[in-house]
């Protein structure tokens, strides 16, 4: 791990923080829009977990940066090109089917990812992952249940879920692609090599889809770019919401 600099670890940690804050943001948009009150509370709960995860990662990045950066300066004062989250997180929340399918695909990924990150030679990353695993287990139980209930519910719910799965599929490939930077950190035992997670993920997703009477998309399309800051047009709007106060009244305590 010695050849890896704090600056490199910070860059890696920011990727994970951005994933979590953007996912949490999209979930938090559901507040008071849920299909019934219990689900409104559950979505808020999952949103809180992701915001909490983002805060832990940002706080660690701030410590590594050691230049006066804070969790909030990372979240609130960087522009689109500096955000390095994977694209799947930033897609608009869509209908409840879209939110459920995205959450399920992300949960199957996050759980495995965090299980691996737990073995990181970086003790802070390993500790954050250990906490995240417990949450992801619960998230996955919930989102998998929704896959079954809505996939195998009514004709309408099945149609909506299938549509959502088709719309999301092209954004899943990016989850498993490591650039050279991530691979070097993975080789040093700090980061996760996500390509190793793909087979298990695909097996789990296939099994769930089959049980949920949904078909795995076969169309051959994929979109990527999040880790290089090449985002969809949606992220800018998300950031203009998220960052409004800090941008309008810069440098204040809140």
């Amino acid at each position: 791990m010695s050849e890896i600099s704090s600056e490199q670890i910070k860059e890696y940690v920011l990727r994970l923080a951005d994933d979590a804050v953007v996912q949490g943001h999209r979930l938090s948009e559901w507040c008071s829009h849920g299909p019934f009150l219990e689900e409104d509370l559950a979505l808020t709960n999952v949103a809180l977990d992701f915001i909490g995860r983002a805060r832990m990662f940002y706080a660690y990045a701030a410590k590594l940066a050691d230049d006066g950066s804070t969790e909030d300066s990372f979240a609130y004062t960087r522009d689109c090109r500096e955000f390095t989250n994977l694209l799947i997180h930033e897609l608009p929340r869509g209908d409840f089917a879209f939110t459920c399918v995205r959450q399920y695909l992300v949960d199957e990924y996050s759980l495995r990812f965090m299980e691996e990150l737990c073995n990181s030679e970086d003790p802070t990353l390993a500790a954050i992952a250990a906490k995240a695993i417990k949450e992801s287990r619960y998230h996955l139980r919930r989102s998998r249940d929704w896959m079954l209930r809505l996939g195998d519910g009514t004709a309408e719910s099945n149609r909506r879920m299938q549509e959502a799965l088709n719309e999301l599929w092209g954004y899943t490939h990016e989850l498993f692609e490591a650039d050279r930077f991530e691979l070097s950190l993975a080789n040093a035992g700090v980061a996760v090599d996500p390509s190793l997670l793909r087979n298990e993920w695909l097996t789990a997703v296939s099994t769930t889809c089959e049980e949920a009477t949904l078909s795995l998309p076969t169309e051959n399309w994929s979109v990527r770019g999040g880790r290089e800051g090449i985002h969809t047009e949606h992220l800018g709007h998300l950031l203009s919401d998220l960052q409004f106060l800090q941008r309008a009244y810069p440098g204040l305590e809140w």
């Binding site: 804050v21 943001h25 938090s28 948009e29 507040c31 008071s32 829009h33 849920g34 299909p35 019934f36 009150l37 219990e38 689900e39 409104d40 509370l41 808020t44 709960n45 949103a47 809180l48 915001i51 909490g52 983002a54 805060r55 940002y58 969790e71 909030d72 979240a75 609130y76 209908d95 409840f96 079954l148 209930r149 809505l150 195998d152 519910g153 009514t154 309408e156 719910s157 909506r160 919401d241 998220l242 409004f244 106060l245 800090q246 009244y249 204040l252 305590e253 809140w254």
Partner: protein, 312 residues
């Protein structure tokens, strides 16, 4: 027979016994409670909207997490209260239908918009503050499930009030813009917060009977006075001014005297002419309608699982 029942019922109330769901109760007592508890539940749920309006724009991740947790608590309160109302023999669907059809009310304060971040502070400090004054008193209400619900709710509400006050304090000690934002929110929310306690005792349609049944334990005016008395020092502490030129300490009464509420505005907002009445109901109705396919799918899936289990 019924008169005898009513006498026994009133004797139990007078002896401070709690009335429980299976106990005999006058029909009017039951109806009055359903009205009050469901209004309370709907208020918690509709109140998620103005606060939800700021969740995505909260100024720091810490404030965002606090606000998310708060709004989640409010929804949870809505759930206990719907359950408490259900013990009186009405379903949640019926309660929600009554809300959508305008037969049930919710706290009028939520018909005012949360325009700035300071409004989230003002809502926590003043609106939750006023709600607590009312709810502390309701911990001694005569209906058992409602009283017990209030005990739990009060604990969480006082936490919310402190968080709201902390937002106001931070703004009041901040830049000139922030202080202005805080004062402006206080100006807009102060009078609507006083209106939360309802009409004067002399004008209140349900008060006398509710007091006799101990559904209410203190009158609207008593509770309002308590709220004014506690809020003045809190405003002074952080250097904000309560927007009432008639506000003055009355040594003889041992209370603050305060100006008259604009009862015309109160009536207007209740009649549906507040800034957000239509928006709040439309939002709730739309979320409910948008979720219909989800609820149908759940029922359908449940049936399939049942059938498979029986076939196996």
């Amino acid at each position: 027979m019924s008169e005898q029942h009513e006498q026994i019922f009133q004797n139990r109330i007078d002896a401070e016994e709690k009335i429980e769901p299976k106990d005999w109760m006058p029909e009017a007592y039951r109806r009055n409670l359903i009205r009050q508890i469901s209004q309370h539940a709907h208020s918690e749920v509709i109140g998620m909207q103005p606060e939800g309006n700021w969740i995505t724009r909260a100024p720091t991740l810490h404030r965002k997490a606090i606000l998310l947790a708060k709004v989640q608590d409010e929804g949870g309160h809505g759930l206990y209260l719907y359950s408490a109302a259900e013990t009186l023999g009405i379903s949640r669907e019926e309660l929600i239908d009554a809300l959508h059809e305008g037969r049930a009310k919710y706290a009028s304060i939520f018909n005012y918009p949360a325009i700035t971040w300071a409004d989230i502070g003002a809502i926590g400090w003043l609106v939750d503050g006023a709600a607590i004054v009312n709810q502390v008193s309701l911990q001694r209400t005569s209906y058992g499930p409602y009283a017990r619900g209030m005990v739990r709710i009060c604990k969480e509400e006082s936490f919310h009030q402190r968080q709201g006050y902390h937002i106001m304090m931070t703004l009041a000690r901040g830049s000139a813009d922030q202080k202005h934002m805080a004062q402006d929110a206080l100006n807009r929310f102060w009078w609507p917060a006083l209106m939360m306690f309802g009409p004067h005792d002399s004008e209140s349609a349900h008060s006398a009977q509710s007091m006799k049944w101990k559904v209410k334990r203190q009158t609207n005016d008593e509770l309002r006075q308590k709220f004014v008395d506690q809020s003045v020092a809190q405003a002074e502490e952080i250097g904000l001014t309560i927007p009432d030129p008639d506000l003055i300490w009355n040594e003889k009464r041992g209370h603050y005297d305060f100006g008259e509420i604009d009862w015309d505005e109160f009536a207007q907002v209740i009649a549906g002419n507040g800034p957000c009445n239509r928006q709040r109901l439309t939002h709730h109705r739309r979320a409910h309608e948008d979720g219909a396919w989800v609820r149908e799918a759940m029922v359908s899936y449940q049936k399939k699982v049942q059938q498979r289990r029986e076939a196996a």
